[in-house]
Each structure stands twice: as C-alpha cells, then as structure tokens.
Amino acid sequence: MTTTTMPSALGRLTQRRKLGPAFIVAIVVVIVLAVLPAFAEGYALTSYRDVLLFALFALSLDLFWGKTGILSFGHATFFGLGAYGIAITAIHFEIDPSIVSLVGMLVGVGMAAGVALVVGYFILYGGVRGAYFTIVTLALTLIANHVAVGWPAVTGGDSGLIGVPPISIFGWTLADPISSYYLALTVLAACLFGSMWVMGGRLGLILTAIQDDEIKVRTLGYKTPFLLLMTFAASASMAAVAGGLYAAANGFVAPDMIALLLSTEVIIWVAVGGSGTLIGAVIGTAIVWWLQQKISSINASAWPIAIGSFFILLVLVFPKGPAAFVIDRIRHLRREEGADR
C-alpha cells in the first residue's frame, strides 16, 4: 500500500514546488515591471533597464550558487566576457550592421560558456568544491581583469571601448529607452520563468541532493561533475547575455564590468534576496540598487564600506539572508503575542 502511493506523493511534491509562493511573487514582479514604463521615462527608465540587466546577472549567479551551494566569486568574468564580446565584435570587425549585435551576443555568450566549460572542467572534475572553487573563480576574475586592462589594442585598456551599437535584430533597432527596457524585461522574464521551471523539476531536485551529499547522488548513478559543469556553463551564459545587453544598451564597455567589485556586488544582490529562490535575486538587486543610490551620494568610499559591513553582518547576524531574518523575527514576535494571550 505504502509503496504504491509513494511515487504519486513525490509527483505532488514536485508539482507543488512549481506553483509555490516564489512563482506567484515572480508573476507579480514581472507584471509590475511591465507597467512601470507608464510612470517613468527618459533617464529614469534607462536606469531601471540597467537594474533589470543586473537582476538578470544576479539570477544567473543564483542559478549556480543558490541551487548547487557552491559560491562563484568570479561571475563578473562572464558578465564582462558578454560585454567585451559584443563590443569587440562590433568595433574591431566589419560585419553587416543588421546582424552585428546578434553575432556579437553569440561571440560573448560563446566565450563565456567556453571559459566556464574549460575552467569548470579543470576544477569540478578535479574534485574541487566549496571554498576552493570560490578561490579559483576569484582568481578567474583577476585574470580576466588583468587581460582587459593589459591588452589595450583589443580591449581599450583602462578606458574601455566606446561606440557599441544598440541591439538590432535584422534591421529592427531597439535603441530608445522604452524598447530597450522591454527587451531587457522580456529576456529577464524568459530566463526567470525558464530557470524556475527547470529547477522546479528533476534537475533542481538532483542539484539539491548534490548539495546535501554528493557521494550518495553519485552512487545512485548520476554524473554529478557533469551536472554541476552544465549548470555552471548555463549560469555563465546567462551572465554573458546580461553583460552583452548591458554593453549594447549603454554603448560602452569598461574594465569595471569585469572586475572583482562587480563579482562581489552580485553576491550581495543574491544574498539580500535570499539565495536559491531565483526571484529573490531580482528583488534583491532592486533593493540594493536603491540603497546604493542613497549611500554612494554620501561619499565615494561609503559604498564599498557598506558592502564590506554587509558581508560581515550577513555571516554574524543573519546567516540565512536578511529576508529569512526578518521573517524569523516576525514569526518570533507573533509567537510571543500568542503566548501572552
């Protein structure tokens, strides 16, 4: 009796994961973002568009960090490869303007996926996990930054490259703020729901199991390094898409798009929203971006100090993320109220 009901129970479990609260929140967020241009225009809208692209970048990190539990300290490498990919293709090669941005995106995403596959192969198949993975990816960002700064003939060195054309799909150019905003939102929504759907299914369950006990999962016959490598490559490609769209939307690339500080910031965006929730990455990016506007206006040093303090607080005060901390506090207060009655 019990044996026959078990598979259906498991089936219900996976189905409920798909339509969980995170999914509903995601739909609400996307609807709000879709009507946002009615209340903003010009410069404000281009800022919101950049936030959407950063949210896509944060989503890509959450796809790997949140789902596998392995922290990548080098995601700016992939964002930067996407950005430099489209910039270098458009500026150094003479390609038909109607397809140049598509070719550039492909080059950037291809480079990011390639680097992720090669580096991921060496470290994931080498059995490197956890903290060592984090150090190697940290070094990866340093390497990429060294190359971006030290190879001015191609990358423009410290000043970067100016004149990246806006995204154009077979002659249909998305240059004005509204259309580039909706392009960013469409890509973000597609990646968000796509990731939620994939991670709500079998792959998500296996990755969670790997987080708990990789050896056990391998014993069950899953090729765990392969699954981790593919997730890493998918995550890197998504980061590169965000980087490529960002470079095209703003018209330039600079070495700070491939720097350690950006790798650090994206970790905060994900951590603020709560890692592993996917939609949390999007909300976290928006909250931190808003905070950054407030704090950076005080002093140029204030923002890095705020980030540093946040990391320390994250570990010592709210290890499960600020959102979980607040929810825990509210539950705690409610329980106390209930006890008083």
């Binding site: 922290l71 300290f73 580096v119 060496f122 470290i123 198949y125 080498g126 059995g127 490197v128 956890g130 903290a131 060592y132 984090t134 150090i135 190697v136 940290l138 070094a139 990866l140 340093l142 390497i143 990429a144 060294h146 190359v147 700064v149 030290g150 190879w151 350690l260 650090t264 970790i267 040093s301 890095p304 100090i305 980030i307 540093g308 303090s309 946040f310 990391f311 320390i312 994250l314 570990v315 010592l316 290890p319």
Partner: protein, 282 residues
C-alpha cells in the same frame, strides 16, 4: 651567460617577494585552513607603516621592526573580534574576510588619500654580481626573505609555540586535552600570519606603488603559491614561490606583465587539476 644573471636575479627577487608574502598565507590558510581574503590588506598595512614611520622622521629599519608588531596587534584584535567565530565554515570565512578587506582598503584610502605614497628604501646604489650591476636593495631583499623563511621554519619545528600549533592543527581536541589552549594558539597563529604579511609589505614598498589597493595584487598569487606548493606544508611555500616566480619572470620578458600574471594563474589552475595536493604536500 651574461644575460642569464640579471634574469636569475630578477626571478629570485620575485620568488623572495612571493615567499615572504605567502608564508603568512601558509600559516593562516595552509595550516589553520582559514581562507583569509584580507591577507592582502595586511601587506598594505605593513607598507603604510613604513609610510607613517618615514613621515614621522624614522628610517626603514625602524619600520621593519614596527610593521610586524602593528600587523600582529591588528591581527590579534581581528581574530578575537571576527575570525574566531568563523573557523567552522569556509564560506563564512570568505565573506567575512572579504568584507574586512573592502573596509580596510577604504579606511586606508580615506586616511592617506588615493595618490601613491613615496617611500625610500635603504641601499640606493647597486652592487656588482659576477660582472653585472644589480640594485643592492633587491639583493638585500633576497637575503632577508631567505633568512625570514629559515627562521619561520625554525619556529615551527623547534619552539614550544610551533609544537603546540602543529599539535592543535592535527587534532584540536587531543591538543586541548594535553593542556594546549586552542583559542590562544589560533589567535597567536593568525596574528603571526598577519605580522609576516605586514613585514612583506615593508619590504615590498620601495619596489612598488604604495596605494590602499596594493595588496590585492598579491592575494591570488599567494593563494596559488600555497595551493600549488601543498597546503599545510611550509616547505611547499618555497616550491610554489619558486615555480610561480620563475615562470612569471620568464614570461614577462616576452609579453606584458599583467598578461604574464594572468597566464601563470591560469596555469596554476591546470596544475591543481592534476596535482590537487600540491607539489610538496605535508
């Protein structure tokens, strides 16, 4: 043959710098297994100790004595306040020490400004080595680094502190049963690592631009020196520094230095795939 001597000396200079920078890392990361991303900032603190000492009218030698003390004190305070809480979880160590690193960088920049500081080393002239003139300070640096390395090994192998530290790393519980206080040992070991990094900072300062962000250049390299040399072995640091230092010097003759650094780090990742335990494991 004539051309080989400056090459060998340049390589030896870089190896010595890496050696002394990585020794602190070998203690904190290799032996204590704490990933300390603020290690570079202890180097910066050492270099800025020299800046302060020279501004106040002191000389290089005074700073060479003061910097390890400053590094030790700051290391001790930070260990008590933060690091002692994160020994269990490497991810927490990464986040906390990275946060610390960002804060220290900005605080140093707020105090001293963004422009590079100028410092002067001793021995301005050059010395004839087998018919080739070579800066005297660099020769001093090589000798000093080797001496510090030998002294550190001696402390580990011959003193009570070294014995207690090695014991509590092998088995913290057993060591505490035998009367070793692990909290005290950890604090002193972390502070010693910080002191060595600060010492490295003073030695480096006359050769590079002293800014609040100078430490980051050495962070990844010292991690890889320790990883490649073999985490947990002090003699592995010599092997790791030798490999990374000579490769980087050789490559810098052909391609830009930054790209050479990048290439060496990439190569280090490949080496780790095939020898994850390092060249000279403990």
């Amino acid at each position: 043959m004539e051309a080989l001597i400056p090459f060998a000396l340049n390589a030896l200079t870089l190896i010595s710098i890496l050696l002394i920078v990585s020794m602190g890392m070998a203690i904190i990361f290799g032996l204590m297994n704490v990933i300390n991303l603020a290690h570079g900032e202890f180097i910066t603190i050492g270099a800025f100790t020299l800046v302060v000492v020279q501004t106040l009218g002191g000389n290089f030698w005074l700073a060479l004595i003061a910097a390890p003390m400053v590094g030790y004190m700051i290391g001790l305070v930070l260990e008590k306040a933060l690091i002692a809480r994160i020994y269990e979880n490497p991810l927490h160590a990464i986040l906390v020490t990275w946060g610390l690193s960002l804060i220290l960088q900005q605080v140093i920049q707020l105090i001293f400004g963004a422009a590079p500081q100028s410092v002067t080393g001793p021995f301005p002239g050059s010395i004839d080595v087998f018919g080739v003139a070579y800066p005297a300070y660099r020769l001093f640096l090589i000798a000093f680094a080797l001496a510090t390395f030998a002294l550190t090994i001696a402390v580990f192998k011959k003193t009570r502190f070294g014995l207690d530290l090695r014991a509590s790393i092998q088995s913290s519980e057993m060591a505490s049963v035998m009367g070793v206080n692990p909290d005290k040992i950890n604090a002193r070991a972390f502070a010693s690592g910080a002191a060595l990094a600060a010492l490295a900072g003073v030695l480096l300062a006359p050769l590079t631009a002293v800014t609040a962000f100078m430490g980051i250049n050495y962070l990844a390299r010292s991690f890889f020196v320790v990883l490649i040399g073999g985490a947990g072995s002090i003699s592995g640091v010599a092997a790791g520094s030798g490999l990374i230092g000579s490769l980087e010097t050789a490559l810098s003759y052909e391609i830009p230095t930054t790209v050479a650094q990048a290439l060496v780090l990439a190569l280090a990742i490949v080496i780790l795939r095939f020898r994850p335990q390092g060249i000279l494991p403990a």
